[in-house]
Structure formats: structure tokens, C-alpha cells
């Protein structure tokens, strides 16, 4: 298949899938088949784009102008290594999540399942658009699609609690994107005359001094999906959503869209060399570093599993943001690998939390005593993922942390090193007790004793993502080779 066509189809497929899902809503089996088929097709399409690009392909050849929205502003798609990476992660994990949601939604007898699957597909459409956007404007468009399409998923339960959480979710994300991201974008357009993603950036020579710092801050806080404090509030609020949503969207698609956007802005709008000259650029590093440590401290104090995972996500996202703005080649690579490593590990953790909820209705950490004996596969996967969060080999988290630390040494920044060390300790402090509880404590006598593992589709999904977490460790070579083309001067 022609690569251009494949690239366009990556947007068409999930949208068509959403339509079909809505139409087949009356027949659940058919509906779920459509979801699965769409996700597999989408992944195949992304692979097709990847294959067409090759490793050393010139990215400009895969550039499609769809139409001109305003004079000088086109809706355009392109594909470059970072896009492919994000698209592969999102679409690949969508397949796994689809399998998992079928088990989850059916076992829980959730209502409005058609709305759920439809919105899910639309959200993936938004994520694909973010991934393949060729300019900031197109990216912004899909970024908002992603925000709006996930609102019904967060508010899924429809009770007061869900509505309150969803309101915070939507409020924070739209307020930051319209209030900060949009003016930053218009400002960029006003000074640079373009919003295209170009290697080396578009701002060099067009803005300087404090204005450039201001612009950087607008982007840093405006891209609310990256959840830098204090605009992280939406992420814990979004935990009212059903677990598959938290898993795919709030560990992978939505939050990674945020850090992906941040990476795109830093690499292709500012340009690494130019950003290094921007005064007080290190503030961004400090803000991200502060988020990493304080979110970890907050996570330590959580009693609900999903909320703890949410704060862990906030912290992990800032790893990526910090690594991006440290600006050394190794740290950029660390950020890119961490997008993958964190995605597969965090989705495993959420899957496990969902599986525990489905099998035993338990949601609190304190209830997990001895659960490792009843759900050994789930908790083994949980352990692998938790080790990845901490950064212990042989898991993906180790690889990314390795590069980040190398990047910090390139910069000679003791702040970054200290942050990485502290948060590693904190991560261990809130993940290991859970593993300990699950395997080394006796089960309390009360509650729901009669349960085993969650339904097969869910367990299968958990195993797949746990294995992926390990694979990132063992096979990161091709990933590094592929991505290094976008970072100039990588040794």
C-alpha cells in the first residue's frame, strides 16, 4: 500500500470504526468485533507507515497537505520517527485494551457500553491526529478532539462523583489549552509566520529574551495533558472513569499526547539549540523536577490504588518533560524511550488494578493483603511493572532512566541527578509495600474471599503488557537507532 494512503487511513480507520460501533450498538458481539477489528487494522496501518518510511527515510516525503484552514495555516499530516513511535504505542496498546475492556465492561455489567466504545474510538482518532500532525495547529485541533471525546468516558458512571471528576477534567484541560496553549500558538504564528514542525525549530531569530521565556512557560502550562504541577489536577480527577479508560487514555494516549506535544514543541518549534539560549530556560527543568518529587510524595500518601497510580503518572510524566527540557541528546533519548517504557508499565498497573476490582471489588491498598495468592498472574505482572516504575533491570524503566542520568551528566546538573535519585527512592517506597502486602501478608478474614483471577481476556491483556515491559529492556537497540535521527549530535 502507498504510504501516503496509509497515513491518511490511520485517521479514517478509527473514525469509521467509531461510526460502525455506534451503528452496531444493538448487537454487543458484533460491536466488540468491530472494535477489535478496527484496532488491529489501525495498528497494521501504522506499521505500514513505519515500513514505508524505513530507518533513514527523509521525513519530508511523507507529508500530506489536507486543506488550508486559514490563509497560511494548513491542516497537514506528516510522519517522522517520534510520530511513528507515539502512534505505534497508542494503536498497539489499543488492541490490548480492547480485549481487556470486553472482559471488564461485561463482567461489571456497565451501562452505555456503545457510547463507551464509540468515544474510545474517537479518542484514538484524536491520538492518531496528534501523532501525525505536521504543524502545531493541526496538532492543537486533534488535541482538543482528544479532550472532548474522553469527557464522556470520564463521566461514564453519571453519578455526582463522576460528574464532578469529569468537570474538573474538562475544565482544567480546556482552560489550559484555550487559555494558555492557544495564545502561545497564536503568538508563535504572529512572530514566526508559520506553525510547521521543522527540524531546528521556527522561532530562532524571531523572538528573544524574556518574551521567549514567557512563551516557553505558556507552552509548559498550556499543554495541560502533560500534567505539570499545578495543572495536574485533572489526572487524579479522571480516575472516576472505568479502568480501561484510565489504562489506555490516562496512562498512554492522553497523557502521552501531552508529553509528545511538549517534545514536538521543544524539538520542532523552539529547536534544541535555540531553546538552550533562551534565558531562564532552566526554570522549566526546576518546575518539572518539583512536580516529580512532590507528586511522588503525594502518591505515597494515597490509599486508593487508582489515585496512587494517577499521582505516579503525574510524576512519571514530568520525568519526560524534564528530560525533554534538559536538552542534551542523551536526555532527549531518555524522554523518548520513557514514553514507551512508562506506557507499557503503567497500563499494566492499571490493568492489574482493574482486574482486582473486577474479581474482588477491592479498590484500596489496605485491602490487598495476600491477594498475590488468589491472583498470582495479575500480581506478578504488577510487580514487573512496579519494578519498571522504579527503574530496576530487566525492565524498560531502567533503560530510560539510564539515558536520563547520562543526559544529566552531560549537562552537569546536580539538580536533575538529585531529583532522579530522590524520586527513585520514593517510587520504591510506594510500590514495594504493595508487592509486599500481596505476597507476604496473610489475607484478612473479612470481605470477598471466594475469587480467583479476573476473566481470561483481562489476564491475557495484563500478560501481554507485562511482557512488553520486559521487551523494552531487551530490545531497545532498534528503538534507539530509529529515534536518534531526530536528535542532532547524538553520540
Amino acid at each position: 500500500m502507498n504510504a501516503q494512503l496509509a497515513l491518511q487511513l490511520t485517521l479514517v480507520a478509527p473514525l469509521a470504526g467509531a461510526l460502525l460501533i455506534a451503528l452496531t450498538g444493538k448487537w454487543p458481539n458484533l460491536r466488540e468485533s468491530v472494535t477489535l477489528a478496527t484496532s488491529v487494522l489501525l495498528f497494521a496501518l501504522v506499521l505500514q507507515v513505519f515500513a514505508a518510511m524505513g530507518v533513514n527515510h527523509d521525513p519530508r516525503e511523507l507529508h500530506i497537505d489536507l486543506f488550508e484552514l486559514l490563509p497560511g495555516i494548513t491542516i497537514a499530516l506528516h510522519s517522522e520517527p517520534l510520530s511513528i513511535l507515539f502512534a505505534m504505542v497508542a494503536s498497539g496498546l489499543w488492541i490490548v485494551t480492547s480485549v481487556y475492556s470486553i472482559g471488564y465492561m461485561r463482567t461489571n455489567n456497565e451501562k452505555h457500553q456503545t457510547r463507551f466504545y464509540t468515544c474510545f474510538a474517537v479518542a484514538i482518532f484524536g491520538a492518531m491526529g496528534v501523532a501525525f500532525a505536521a504543524n502545531l495547529f493541526t496538532l492543537f485541533l486533534f488535541y482538543e478532539v482528544l479532550t472532548l471525546s474522553t469527557y464522556p468516558l470520564v463521566a461514564h458512571k453519571g453519578d455526582d462523583n463522576a460528574r464532578r471528576g469529569a468537570r474538573i477534567y474538562l475544565g482544567v484541560l480546556l482552560a489550559t489549552s484555550i487559555g494558555l496553549f492557544l495564545p502561545a500558538m497564536i503568538w508563535t504564528y504572529a512572530v514566526a509566520g508559520t506553525l510547521d514542525f521543522r527540524p531546528g525549530g521556527i522561532l530562532d531569530g524571531n523572538i528573544a529574551g524574556a518574551a521567549a521565556t514567557g512563551l516557553l512557560m505558556l507552552y509548559l502550562f498550556g499543554i495541560g495533558k502533560a500534567a505539570v504541577m499545578p495543572v495536574h489536577k485533572w489526572l487524579p480527577a479522571a480516575m472516576v472513569a472505568p479502568t480501561p479508560v484510565s489504562a489506555l487514555l490516562h496512562a498512554v494516549a492522553v497523557v502521552k499526547a501531552g508529553v509528545f506535544t511538549m517534545a514536538k514543541v521543544v524539538i520542532y518549534i523552539f529547536g534544541l539549540d535555540f531553546l538552550a539560549d533562551v534565558p531562564n530556560e532552566m526554570w522549566a527543568v526546576y518546575i518539572a523536577g518539583f512536580t516529580i518529587v512532590s507528586a511522588s510524595v503525594v502518591a505515597l500518601r494515597q490509599t486508593n490504588i487508582k489515585r496512587m497510580l494517577a499521582y505516579s503518572t503525574v510524576s512519571q510524566l514530568s520525568y519526560i518533560v524534564m528530560a525533554v527540557v534538559v536538552l542534551t541528546p542523551y536526555s532527549e533519548m531518555g524522554a523518548i524511550i520513557h514514553i514507551v517504557a512508562h506506557a507499557v508499565a503503567k497500563i499494566t498497573l492499571f490493568f492489574a488494578a482493574g482486574a482486582i476490582y473486577v474479581a474482588s471489588k477491592k479498590t484500596e491498598i489496605a485491602q490487598l493483603d495476600g491477594i498475590g495468592y488468589r491472583m498470582p498472574i495479575t500480581m506478578a505482572a504488577f510487580t514487573v511493572a512496579a519494578l519498571s516504575m522504579i527503574g530496576v533491570p530487566p525492565t524498560g524503566g531502567f533503560v530510560s532512566k539510564w539515558y536520563m542520568i547520562a543526559g544529566a551528566f552531560q549537562l552537569d546538573s546536580y539538580f536533575v541527578l538529585a531529583v532522579l535519585a530522590t524520586s527513585t527512592a520514593l517510587n520504591a517506597a510506594y510500590f514495594l509495600p504493595i508487592v509486599f502486602r500481596a505476597f507476604f501478608r496473610k489475607e484478612a478474614g473479612d470481605g470477598n474471599l471466594d475469587h480467583g483471577e479476573a476473566p481470561v481476556p483481562m489476564v491475557a491483556a495484563i500478560c501481554v503488557t507485562a511482557v512488553l515491559t520486559l521487551l523494552v529492556f531487551f530490545f531497545n537497540g532498534p528503538l534507539v537507532d530509529f529515534e536518534q535521527t531526530i536528535i542532532g549530535g547524538f553520540q
Partner: protein
């Protein structure tokens, strides 16, 4: 035939009005006025086509030459606004039948269409004419028809709202009349183009300033610019739903057009600078309007009133664009004129559907309606997002141009103000979404069915236009760009 189009544009609906009176059945009157509106829409399309090809059209009424006789003058700006008004008026009329049948007595239905046609004729006349006194006459034709239309509302408060509007509207019109009198006594002409040539020689005269002030205040009363907006919420809330959709999408747009005409074409943009800081006033009032009206809207329980206040806020945006005063700013105003017509047309038609099925449009009515009237509620969501300015909708295009104009003009404080206004809109739109989709319906509405086909069709055409013109902006951007060049060129 083609050369007579400028006058036919006004004459056809004007003559259709008494013709409607002869049709005794509501349904027949409806079909007839729809046909007339479609013809009128076709004329305005043809006019826009001619004007964008061959430049301004001039039509001399009765064959009298321009400065003496009445001239109808269609340039790109008027052709553009004519198209907006005609387009929305036609769509609303197509949707009107079932809603009118439900809200207005059978015997009065033909009269409703008479008034609708009269009002349309008046609005079109204001835009088409190049004669300043003619503006006053058409303004009063449309206003009188509007007062009567509002008074047709079922609620008795509609009468009271119509009366209040009448008082304010008449004062506004009289102000305009005074302004015209000043201009005439100073220059001896009523033709706009002629006035524009003669006024610069008199630029320093206090009388010209007085004339300008009277005209601006008069138009701003019709425009419902904050703080002269007090008549609007009640009038919109208690008028028949179709009337609200029609007025919200057209009447204020015509007032914006007049303001632009007077400010840029007749007087010239630089005219007021030394004495009246009009642009600063516009900025301040615009921002105040956006904030005050949006905040009131957030706490409003009647959704028709809520969107009425939102209209006041949106008018604020249009005035802000003029207040920035640069080409981009005025273009934002012109774009918002078009875009806001699409949004509010769709929203008020959707509310008409709600009122048709449930008899009212309070928050208690729409609870849980997302399931029983999915298409209507989806229309409200999309048009509401457009109101907020989410990308992919027309509202975003306006915001883009406004913020761009503010940044280029170094109005730094304006940027957060504009964007904060959007977020306030988000709050009131989201109240509706939550009520419609995430609340349990109140007893008695579970069996409610989707809106009638005519309403749905028109509503969704407007909704699709909201998205379509948010993505394919060529038509409004090109037209408004040309219109701005015309306005600013005349000034410079």
C-alpha cells in the same frame, strides 16, 4: 433583470408581506413565505457573485441620479451581510412551521409570516440602501415588525418585553434620526458616498461630532451593546422560539453592519480620534459586555435567557474587534458576524425544538434529554462548543482572528480577556451538557420524542455549517477580507 437585483432584494419580501395576509391558512402562508425567502437568498447569492467579480453595484431608484435620488449600493460588505441575513432567515423559516403551529394561534399564523417578511424586508433594506434616511425608514420597518413578533409569545411577559423593547428601540431610532438631521443640515446630502466625500472638510466641527455621537448611541441601542442591552434578554426569552432564532441570528448583525458603515464608510476610521476615543470605549464596553453577560448567563435558569445573555457577550466580541481597529480586528468582527449567526441560529432552533416537545426551556426540562432527543441535544453541544471556540468550529476562527489582532496591536491585556470569556462560555454550555446527558430525566419526559423533521433539518444544516466553515474558511475569510479592504481603503 440582473441589473434590478439590488431593489428586488428588498422589494420581493416587502411585497410578499401583504400577499401573505391574503392567505388564510398558516401552512399555505408558510409555504409561500419560504418560497419568497429562497428567492431572496438566491438573489443575495447572485449579488455576492456579481459584486466579488465586478465591484460595487449602484442602483438608482426611479432613475434619479445618485446624490439627489435614492441610491441602492451593494458592495462586498453589504453583499456579505445580505447573504448571512438571508441564509439564516431562510433556514429559520423552513424550520418554522411546526414550532409556529404549536406556539401561535391558528388564526394568527398568517400574520406571523406577514411580520416575518416585513422584518426581513426591513433588515435587507438597511443593508442594501446607500441613503442614510432610507436606513432610518427600513430600521423602523424592521423594528415595528419585531415588536409585534415578540408580542406574539405565549407568555404574557412577552407583551411587557415587547413594550420595553419598543420604548428603547424608538429612542434609539430617534437618536439616529437626530444624527441624520445634523448631517443633512451640515452637508445638504443624504447619500452615504456623497457624505463620505463632504465630511472630511467639516471634520473639526462640533456638529459633526454631535451627529456622530447620536448615530453611534442610536445604533448601539439596537445592537444591545453593554450597558444598553437591558431590553434584549427578556425580548429573546419570551418571544416565540422561532422569532428568537431569527432575531438573534440577524437583527443584531444588521446593527453591527450599520455601526461599521457609519464608523468606517461615512465618517472614516480616523475621524473621531482626537475628540472621542471611540475605539477605547468600544474595547472597554466590549470586554465589560463579555464578562458581565457571560457571568449572568452562568447563573440563568431559563436557557433561552441564558443564550440571550450569551448573545450580549458575543456582541461584545464583535465590538472588541472594531475597538482594536486594525484590519485584522475588523475582519474578526465581520467573521464573527457570520459565525455568530450560525451558532445562535442553531442553538435557538434547537431550543425551539425543546420548547415544542416540552413546552419550556428551563434546566428542569432538559434533564436527561440526551437520550430522548439525541439529535437536538447533539446540535446544542456542537453549536455550544462553537460558542466556546473549540478548534474545528467557526467560533475558533473568530477567536483566532481576534487574538491575532490583539497580539499584533500589542493589546496584551486583551488576550487573556478574550480567552477568559471563552472559558466562561464553556461553563454555561457545560451546565447544559451535564443536565442533558448526565442527569436522570424528570418524570414525564421519558416518552418525549425527537423534534419534527423540519426543525431538525434546519438546525443540523446550521450545525454542519458551524463545523464546515470552521474547517473550510475560504468563503467567509475571502468575503470579509475584501470587505475590510473596502472599509479601510475608504478610510485611508
Amino acid at each position: 433583470m440582473l441589473s434590478h437585483l439590488p431593489i428586488l432584494q428588498v422589494i420581493i419580501p416587502l411585497l410578499a408581506a401583504p400577499a401573505c395576509l391574503l392567505l388564510d391558512r398558516g401552512r399555505i402562508a408558510w409555504a409561500f413565505s419560504c418560497a419568497v425567502a429562497i428567492v431572496s437568498l438566491a438573489i443575495s447569492l447572485s449579488l455576492l457573485h456579481q459584486v466579488s467579480g465586478a465591484g460595487p453595484l449602484s442602483y438608482e431608484l426611479g432613475g434619479w441620479d445618485a446624490p439627489w435620488g435614492i441610491e441602492y449600493r451593494i458592495d462586498l460588505l453589504s453583499a456579505y451581510v445580505l447573504l448571512v441575513v438571508n441564509g439564516v432567515a431562510t433556514l429559520v423559516l423552513v424550520a418554522a412551521r411546526s414550532s409556529v403551529a404549536a406556539e401561535i394561534d391558528e388564526a394568527k399564523q398568517p400574520l406571523f409570516y406577514v411580520l416575518y417578511m416585513l422584518c426581513l424586508a426591513g433588515l435587507l433594506g438597511i443593508i442594501a440602501t446607500g441613503d442614510i434616511f432610507n436606513v432610518f425608514v427600513f430600521l423602523e420597518i424592521s423594528s415595528l415588525a419585531t415588536y409585534a413578533l415578540i408580542a406574539l409569545g405565549r407568555d404574557r411577559r412577552a407583551l411587557w418585553a415587547a413594550y420595553q423593547y419598543l420604548i428603547v428601540g424608538t429612542i434609539g431610532a430617534t437618536f439616529i434620526l437626530v444624527g441624520i438631521g445634523f448631517l443633512y443640515s451640515l452637508t445638504g446630502t443624504l447619500n452615504m458616498a456623497d457624505l463620505a466625500q463632504r465630511l472630511p472638510a467639516l471634520a473639526e466641527s462640533a456638529s459633526v461630532y454631535a451627529a456622530f455621537a447620536f448615530l453611534v448611541v442610536g445604533v448601539c441601542l439596537k445592537l444591545a451593546l453593554f450597558p444598553l442591552h437591558l431590553w434584549l434578554p427578556n425580548a429573546y426569552a419570551y418571544a416565540p422560539s422561532i422569532v428568537t432564532a431569527f432575531l438573534a441570528a440577524t437583527a443584531t448583525k444588521v446593527a453591527v453592519y450599520l455601526l461599521l458603515r457609519f464608523h468606517f464608510s461615512v465618517f472614516g476610521a480616523s475621524f473621531t480620534d482626537p475628540v472621542l476615543p471611540l475605539e477605547g470605549i468600544f474595547l472597554v464596553l466590549g470586554i465589560a459586555g463579555v464578562f458581565v453577560a457571560s457571568i449572568v448567563a452562568i447563573f440563568e435558569d431559563n436557557i433561552k435567557r441564558l443564550f440571550a445573555y450569551s448573545s450580549v457577550a458575543q456582541i461584545g466580541y464583535m465590538v472588541i474587534g472594531m475597538g482594536i481597529g486594525s484590519a485584522t480586528g475588523v475582519q474578526a468582527t465581520l467573521l464573527h458576524l457570520f459565525n455568530h449567526a450560525l451558532m445562535k441560529g442553531a442553538l435557538f432552533l434547537a431550543l425551539a425544538a425543546v420548547v415544542y416537545r416540552l413546552g419550556g426551556a428551563n434546566f428542569s426540562h432538559i434533564r436527561g434529554l440526551g437520550r430522548t432527543m439525541p439529535l437536538t441535544m447533539a446540535a446544542i453541544v456542537v453549536a455550544g462548543l462553537s460558542l466556546v471556540g473549540v478548534p474545528g468550529t467557526v467560533g475558533f476562527i473568530t477567536k483566532w482572528y481576534l487574538v491575532m489582532a490583539a497580539i499584533n496591536g500589542s493589546h496584551w491585556l486583551l488576550v487573556p480577556a478574550i480567552l477568559l470569556g471563552s472559558l466562561l462560555a464553556l461553563v454555561y454550555v457545560w451546565r447544559i451538557v451535564e443536565a442533558a446527558y448526565f442527569s436522570e430525566p424528570v418524570a414525564g419526559t421519558e416518552t418525549c420524542r425527537e423534534a419534527p423533521l423540519g426543525l431538525l433539518l434546519a438546525m443540523w444544516l446550521l450545525v454542519i455549517a458551524n463545523v464546515y466553515f470552521g474547517l473550510d474558511t475560504r468563503l467567509p475569510v475571502a468575503a470579509s477580507d475584501g470587505a475590510v479592504r473596502l472599509l479601510m481603503g475608504g478610510a485611508g
